[in-house]
Amino acid sequence: MTAGGDTAIRARGLTKRFGELTAVDALDLDVPRARIYGFLGPNGSGKSTTIRMLCGLLTPTAGEARVLGIDLPADARELKPRIGYMTQRFSLYAELSVLENLEFIADVYAVARRTRQARIDELLERYAFTDRRRQLAGTLSGGQRQRLALACAVLHKPELLLLDEPTSAVDPKSRRDFWADLFELANAGTTILVSTHYMDEAERCHRLAILDRGRKVADGTPAELQRSTGMHVIEVLADDAVAAQHALVGDARIASVTQLGVRLRVLLPEALDAPVALVEQRLGDAGIDAEVRPVTPSLEDVFVAVTLPQSDRIAA
């Protein structure tokens, strides 16, 4: 294993400012090797900017990053042959066929002639393109494009894969297949850094960092994050969910109320005693009949809890 030991990416105080806007704010990051590490956050939270800094496309305003033992941005060139990068937007050539795109990428990475054809055949097979090898990339469906982009990104067997919202425009079935591919790669020893705004995808990651407006607000394994929300999570089942929500939001002790169909998920600070009683009392005062029970926090609850505006958390 190369210098850097079991850590593929180590960043300290990584910051990127675009004029007045701070896109990424003093980010510390430790990504272990051969794991899938997720960036969870809404649009504009700094996921893409961070990934671009980690592959040398953007120069950090401050802070340092060491990727696969290479210092960035100084030695970015050395890093290129060892990473695979998948952009948010489809960035292969639409007017080239599946096979031609793969051949182009193989040559650009100077994959040895002896192994080139075998590797391309292997990928065509693995990503189910054998029958579509002559099809122009521009005519592929969203899911197929993502698979082709992944095939191209892993063609030269990179140690590290950086995937920027790879499934943002893909149907659920294709997303599941795509993640199966990622696990296979991680099991084979590839480190994967993937950004997403889907909770179900975040749940699959070995480790996770939640980003909010350029800051890392939480990180750990999904289970760790769910254990340490610092919140009671109460589920409320009411006939009139909207009225129940109105009855609850006014209370300063209640951190957040989110409606999920006929159910409400209510977050209250952990320091508060008897949260169920508090909720029941609020609802009773408003004359609302509801079923109230404590539940284990989901990743969605974690996300809501850590991205609460600062003022709400103080009030709580």
Binding site: L58, T59, E95, A110
Partner: protein, 365 residues
């Protein structure tokens, strides 16, 4: 070795993209052929048959002979009659005629007096070309013994080399090769980098080990071949339709063209690193194209231009190339004799390519 594989990969990709892009592929053949047909027929400096009207107030034997001699030159075509010079002026103003011929009543008598003009030519002088042509009529020696008028032989005999019939096409087509190649070649590469950026390909590409030089050279080489195909087309159409000769060696012409095409492609790539969108790239191309047409010696004789215009002209690749095409095609000159022009083009190509490589950023910020 790896560098060569990468270079070939970029070239192959460019060829494939080009082959799939039908409109661009059509433009490669269409633009040169249409342009040479348009310009070859339209640009004509041998002005003939200018519409003219006559007000002949003398109406004498001599004045009629004089007008016949004028008509024989074929410079003017006497299509209208008028009674007074004022009527001629009216027709001139309305744009019905380019030349008005006024023969005053005392024509016979005035003809004998060398100090007074015998007749007047009223010319729409807004167009200097027309004015220049009509001025030649003024110099037409015209003698009379009192009863008959004859056109005298000139003092100098002009012997036009290389284009004895004085056909414009012979001069225009070699220059047109330069203009057409400037337009198509520069445009192709000017949009090249910008298009990859707009389509998102560039973000992927700059994250691979492919070097900027490999990328730039790989984009240029396929288009050099295309430029040479265009050259063959223009030369063939020029020969078949306009009888424009290639008196020098065809190989020399190709050497000159290869250097010129490389210079334009490199310039296009450089523009591509400046432009933020394909539209801007096109605007920049036309910003270069216009001086290439006007200051390269294509339209106006180079030596006749003011000094600062010649300096600008010297910087433009088209100027040097047109000197070479005219030299090789018309004057049977060899590339070796025209070496300063070739050197100028090669230096330009190298400089533009270096600038393009240096300006090209492998980062997004």
């Amino acid at each position: 070795m790896n560098a060569l594989i990468r270079l070939l990969a970029v070239m192959r990709k460019e060829f494939l993209q080009l082959r799939r892009d039908r409109i661009t592929f059509g433009m490669i053949v269409g633009i040169p052929v249409i342009q040479i047909l348009l310009f070859g027929y339209a640009i004509n400096f041998d002005v003939r048959n200018l519409e003219a009207a006559v007000a002949d107030q003398a109406n004498s034997h001599l004045s009629r002979q004089y007008l016949d001699a004028l008509a024989q030159t074929q410079v003017v075509r006497i299509a209208h009659r008028a009674d007074t010079p004022e009527a001629l002026e009216d027709m001139l103003r309305r744009g019905e005629i380019s030349v008005g011929i006024y023969v005053p009543a005392g024509f016979d008598r005035r003809l004998a007096d060398p100090l007074r003009p015998a007749a007047h030519l009223l010319v729409d002088g807004a167009d200097p070309t027309i004015l220049g042509i009509v001025n030649r009529l003024r110099a037409m020696p015209f003698a009379t013994d009192g009863t008959t008028a004859t056109i005298l032989p000139a003092a100098f005999e002009v012997r036009p080399y290389y284009n004895p019939e004085g056909r414009t096409a012979v001069n225009v087509v070699p220059g047109l090769i330069g203009i057409i190649l400037t337009l198509t070649m520069m445009l192709f590469t000017a949009v090249a980098i910008v298009r990859e950026r707009e389509h998102g390909n560039l973000e992927l590409l700059i994250n691979t080990p492919v070097s900027t030089t490999q990328l730039m050279v790989g984009k240029i080489v396929p288009y050099i071949l295309i430029g040479l195909v265009q050259l063959a087309l223009i030369v063939a159409v020029g020969k078949l339709l306009f009888d424009v000769p290639v008196r020098g060696s065809l190989a020399d012409l190709y050497v000159a063209a290869a250097a010129f095409i490389a210079a334009n492609l490199a310039l296009g790539l450089f523009l591509s690193t400046i432009a933020a969108s394909q539209f801007q790239a096109m605007q920049l191309t036309f910003f270069i194209l216009l001086p290439s047409i006007l200051l390269s010696g294509f339209v106006f004789p180079f030596d006749g231009m003011p000094a600062f215009a010649r300096w600008i002209g010297e910087v433009l690749p088209t100027t040097h190339f047109i000197r070479m095409t005219r030299g090789i095609m018309l004057r049977e000159a060899s590339v070796a004799e025209l070496w300063p022009e070739l050197v100028a083009l090669l230096v330009f190509a190298l400089l533009a390519l270096t600038l393009a490589v240096r300006r090209f950023s492998r980062r997004l910020d």
